[in-house]
Amino acid sequence: MLKTFPAGGVHPPENKITANAPIQYLPVPENVIIPVSQHIGAPATPVINKGDYVKTGQLIAAAKGYVSSNIHSSVSGKVNKIDNAPDSSGYKQPSVFIDIEGDEWTDTIDRSPEIIQEVVLTSEEIIKKCVESGIVGLGGATFPSHVKLTIPSGRKCEVLIINGVECEPYLTSDHRLMLERGEEVLIGTTILMKALKVESAMIGIESNKPDAISHMSKLATDFKGITVIGLEVKYPQGAEKQLIKALINREVPTGRLPLDVGTVVHNVGTAFAVYEAVQKNKPLFERVVTITGKSLKHPGNFFVRTGTPLSSLIDAAGGLPEDTGKIVAGGPMMGKAINTTDVPVVKGMSGVVLIPLTESARMKINPCIRCAKCVSVCPLNLEPYLLMTLTEKNLVERAEKERITDCMECGSCSFICPAGRPLLDYIRLGKSIILKMIRERNLK
């Protein structure tokens, strides 16, 4: 029997339309908008000025503090301005606007197609390289990777977990990356193992990607300590804590980190980015993005430079379909709906899903029939119906006791609710009220 996490979970229709579409290089657009905050943590500080000429791969904004990340130019050209521009969250962020002139890369980047197996850097050098190259978690959370790679003294990581689950419907960027760049991903894994000083790594892949499982398993025989493990298809298996539970049957306690149970999780996309940074000296300014949707003419997977407007990506996939009702940056379960195609592709954007008008509206809200389906699908064993009611009635202290802040917002409860109740909306609201309350309490 395939491994999986025990509690809850749902099976949204997979709709992996682009699973067989090879990754193409998206042509460099005419201009890019590169936000200085593409990660969790402090926004980076711009280090270039208006009118400067920048090369592809050049540092344009430097990390500010430890939990932050460098931002590199994804193109060559002239800095038009540094101004606020909306990103996929809808909020305006300071961003660097670059008018593109050619595509001149910095000399330090190794652009040869040759795959470099041998890892020469030491653990500390690898982590330093990740800091320099602006590597962040590419699964969507965009947490700066060097923080996760730095093991505090006295702690030990026993096993590295590589997340190739890709449990979100529609998305196939990690799937294609494993199929087409499997060797690089494995070398990246080896580099991460070296950085963490661990002997073994596990790559978890859901069984709806049998080709990726067999391909990676075959390649992995040449790599010491790496095993590929097929997992039962169940959302949200790609969530860090659920994946750890599924693979090594350890439960990360509330408010603790994977390292507390002796593991660290990185995405396959991150492993690939680490390979490029360490072996090819290429900073993170390009990633695989799935552009997909049921009515899209040419859905596909693309290597996209960060800062590329979504409109360029959509045009490359055949243009925005007439019946588009919703554009989601990320997967349909946890991604963000955006209101314009002018927003840029950022490091954490693994896909863009165009949802037809007929499927884009929410259903009418009916009374809760207390069917307990939300309770049974919650992967954290919370009681979403209760958390929603408590938030509605502003009983936030009780909601806190019911561990509302544990919620990772996977959306399984709202997905399953037969009455169409916006459970997660209310839980988010309750969480934000309580987190604010906790902050105030801590100040006292």
Partner: protein
């Protein structure tokens, strides 16, 4: 394209399940039972079921429209389920007027007074049934003998249910072995050839409905299995202790409303607990109370009372019995 895009927080997908689909799933699960009750009780079954369903739906419609002045809710199908379940808990020769009164109590008093679907603390069909049992004890306990369409609606030949025969016999000091000769065999009871409420007699039809609801993921196994299991265990103990005074567990499971109650009444979403552990406790409570009423109480049958009693504990259970949260039990650290 239209210039306007929908924007909302995630998730952007919704499952295919809706309240209406679930309710009609239950209706479908009740079809085998409807077929057997018509087969055994003929016109009576048809008249009582139709009266019950139509009046339940009508009362809900009228109350929503003229008293609560809220949007019509009858299309969600829950009133149909209540109507069917109420009918299945009645003898097939009960006068139409009483069925209408029972439907009124179920919908108007037990359901809409509390605010409609999702808010009622007690199972509406059972409230209606128990109200009728207390108010019209004679009509509610004259059970027609299964004879299909051979007899009319009101002139059916009546006889006692196996549970009533057992209760009376034990009270008269008779032994189980001699009583069992007056009662249909287990196999006959499994197929439903015995007196009783029209929906409760045919175990085979109820079990088909159970299998369908499990397959369709309308309900989980927790409540039915714990009700049936606790009845089986409790009656086995009594039977093993004194087989001349207590009937065997199979008899208990096949007679009366155990299966109908365990599969369709106790699993009512609104009035049952919200997490698996509480569901099992709730189910066991129903089983134990039923057996206590049957064996030690004045009534021959106690499923309705048992479910209503446990309904009263559901809010308490939801408040105090909590699932073990992910990451709560600190392991491996």
């Amino acid at each position: 394209m239209s210039n306007l895009l929908n924007v909302s927080p995630s998730p952007h997908l919704h499952g295919t399940e809706t309240t209406r689909k679930l309710m009609f799933g239950v209706v479908l699960a009740l079809v085998p039972t409807l077929v057997t009750s018509v087969y055994y009780f003929g016109w009576g079954a048809i008249i009582v079921t139709l009266t019950s369903v139509v009046s339940c739906v009508l009362f809900e419609y009228l109350i929503q429209k003229f008293i609560l002045k809220r949007p019509n809710s009858i299309t969600d199908g829950s009133a149909i389920v209540t109507g069917l379940l109420l009918a299945f808990n009645l003898p097939s020769n009960i006068p139409v007027l009483l069925v209408v009164i029972g439907s009124f109590v179920s919908i108007a008093i037990a359901k809409m007074t509390f605010g409609g679907l999702g808010n009622n603390p007690f199972n509406p069909a059972l409230v209606g049934r128990v109200f009728m049992l207390i108010s019209f004890p004679v009509q509610m306990t004259s059970w027609p003998v299964p004879s299909g369409f051979n007899t009319g609606y009101t002139d059916a030949v009546t006889g006692a249910t196996p549970l009533a025969i057992l209760k009376e016999g034990i009270n008269n000091g008779e032994q189980i072995s001699s009583l069992m000769e007056k009662i249909p065999s287990h196999m006959q009871m499994f197929y439903g050839y015995m007196g009783g409420s029209m929906g409760e007699i045919a175990a085979v039809a109820l079990l088909i409905g159970f299998a369908w609801m499990l397959f369709r993921k309308i309900i989980t196994w927790h409540i039915p299995v714990s009700v049936i299991g606790s009845v089986a265990i409790f009656t086995s103990i009594l039977w093993l202790v004194n087989p001349e005074q207590n009937a065997d567990p199979v008899f208990h499971l096949l007679t009366g409303g155990i299966l109908l109650g365990a599969i369709f009444m106790a699993t009512d979403y609104v009035t049952s607990p919200m997490n698996p552990v509480a569901m099992i406790i709730y189910g066991c409570g129903i089983g134990v109370i039923t057996v206590i009423i049957r064996v030690f109480g004045a009534y021959p049958e106690g499923v309705s009372f048992a479910i209503l009693i446990m309904n009263a504990f559901v809010p308490l259970m939801n408040s105090y019995i909590k699932p073990v949260r992910f990451g709560e039990e600190v392991k491996n650290v």
